[in-house]
Symmetry: C2
Subunit: 221 residues, 2 copies
DNA sequence: TTTATTTTTTAGATTAATCTAAATCAATAA
DNA sequence: TTATTGATTTAGATTAATCTAAAAAATAAA
């Protein structure tokens, strides 16, 4: 694996995410938006990443991630998610507080550190937002997850992840009492605006907008 | 406290240490040696640190650290040492493995992270090398410590810290069975080369060179 | 108290990561 | 199929952290 700078790691991770794990092409403008840098800066960075052979770059046609790049990206994601677990499980952070700190911790370079952190945490399979943690070889246990939106009336399932990990969204979920692991059932779907009424843990009913429901990921059952 | 870059933090910490906590003046060449950079680079950096008012810099006459600078340095040292405790106590690192990783972790910017790490570790007062951990206000519980060298024949005491934290030295101590907390007594002092014979925990006798003894710190008793 | 030596600073480059402004390419629309 | 538009790249700067080589200042030696 080529050695990447801090900034290169962040770009590569963004490319991995925006391409949905390498499935699609990513454009300069999309990256520019994601990274909050100007398109010109992105072009510069793409040349560097291409030189290091972690992406395939054809000028004017966007990028795809290489197999090598995917491996590197998955190691960064692994670190990010393990640190998130550490912060929540051991340091009592709430799930809306961990992202920015993990964004820094993910760049600490030490293989042994991550191995031992993984063991210390009991080799967790998912992070606090329900996202799978790649193993040391980059293998990911992907569960099939669908947006809460896609359930029909009277369907039921379990919340397993969130699509949006912003503090604002997570705090909203805390407030209304939606959490990962919660069992839910669709009591009503409003035609007009796509909003839902759901039953949480056979106990509490909850109204939520289409927008919110689209960011909650479910395993149907 | 002014915000410092990664490199600025490392220089400031070096200045703090080389000046023995602000007691002495530090020269450009000394810093250059410590930081493994050229004197020219040090001069550049001193101007920057001076602009941020963490050091007093008089061209050609070296630097002293300001009160503000001392505070900043102590926060970095606090983080470094807390992370070292974490690595040893929780992740099963040995005391000779922690330094380089802590050197990176100390730069993670998050007040809440350090507060919670401190609590998680049970508010330790000393790091794995016996060095005191400054509290959140920068207050340090300094114990009087003397080099093992300075003890006289039949004097006894307890190992509380090491002066040299290099992996080589620490592994040597592991090998011969000297550790922090060990009770020791001077059985013999060789005039010729300053080497010592000591009794460890009333059990095991140990020979060590003057050089080694000078890097072991003791509280006499 | 001159001269020589050592230390320190300045000048001028380089690399990484960013920016703005200008140029260029590709896709779309007439 | 050409013109327009929007996306992307290139050119030229800037800031941070380093370097080498040269100049200047302080210290030590004669
Ligand atoms: Mn990051
Ligand atoms: Mn996450
Ligand atoms: Mn450091
Ligand atoms: Mn230490």
């Amino acid at each position: 694996m080529p050695s990447l700078t801090y900034a290169e790691e962040n770009y590569l991770k963004a490319i991995y995410h925006l391409s949905d794990g390498g499935k699609h092409n990513v454009s300069t403008n999309d990256l520019s938006k994601e990274m909050k840098t100007k398109p010109a800066s992105v072009s510069d960075m793409l040349r560097k990443l291409s030189d290091k052979e972690v992406i395939n770059y054809r000028k004017y046609y966007g990028v795809t991630i290489t197999e090598e790049g995917k491996k590197s990206a998955l190691q960064i994601i692994r670190k990010h998610r393990l640190w998130e677990v550490f912060l929540v499980e051991k340091l009592m952070f709430s799930w809306d507080e961990v992202h920015d700190v993990a964004e820094e911790l993910e760049h600490i370079k030490s293989t042994i550190l991550i191995q031992r952190l993984d063991d210390f945490l009991g080799n967790p399979k998912y992070d606090p937002h329900g996202d799978p943690i790649p193993d040391e070889f980059g293998d990911v246990k992907a569960r099939p997850r669908i947006p809460l939106n896609d359930l029909g009336l009277n369907d039921s399932g379990q919340i397993v992840a969130v699509k949006d990990s912003s503090a604002a969204f997570l705090r909203y979920l805390d407030k209304v009492g939606a959490y990962i692991g919660a069992r839910i059932k669709i009591l009503d779907k409003v035609e007009f605006d796509g909003s839902l009424e759901i039953l949480v843990d056979n106990k509490k009913t909850l109204f939520m907008s289409k927008d919110v429901a689209g960011n909650i990921l479910i395993i149907q059952s």
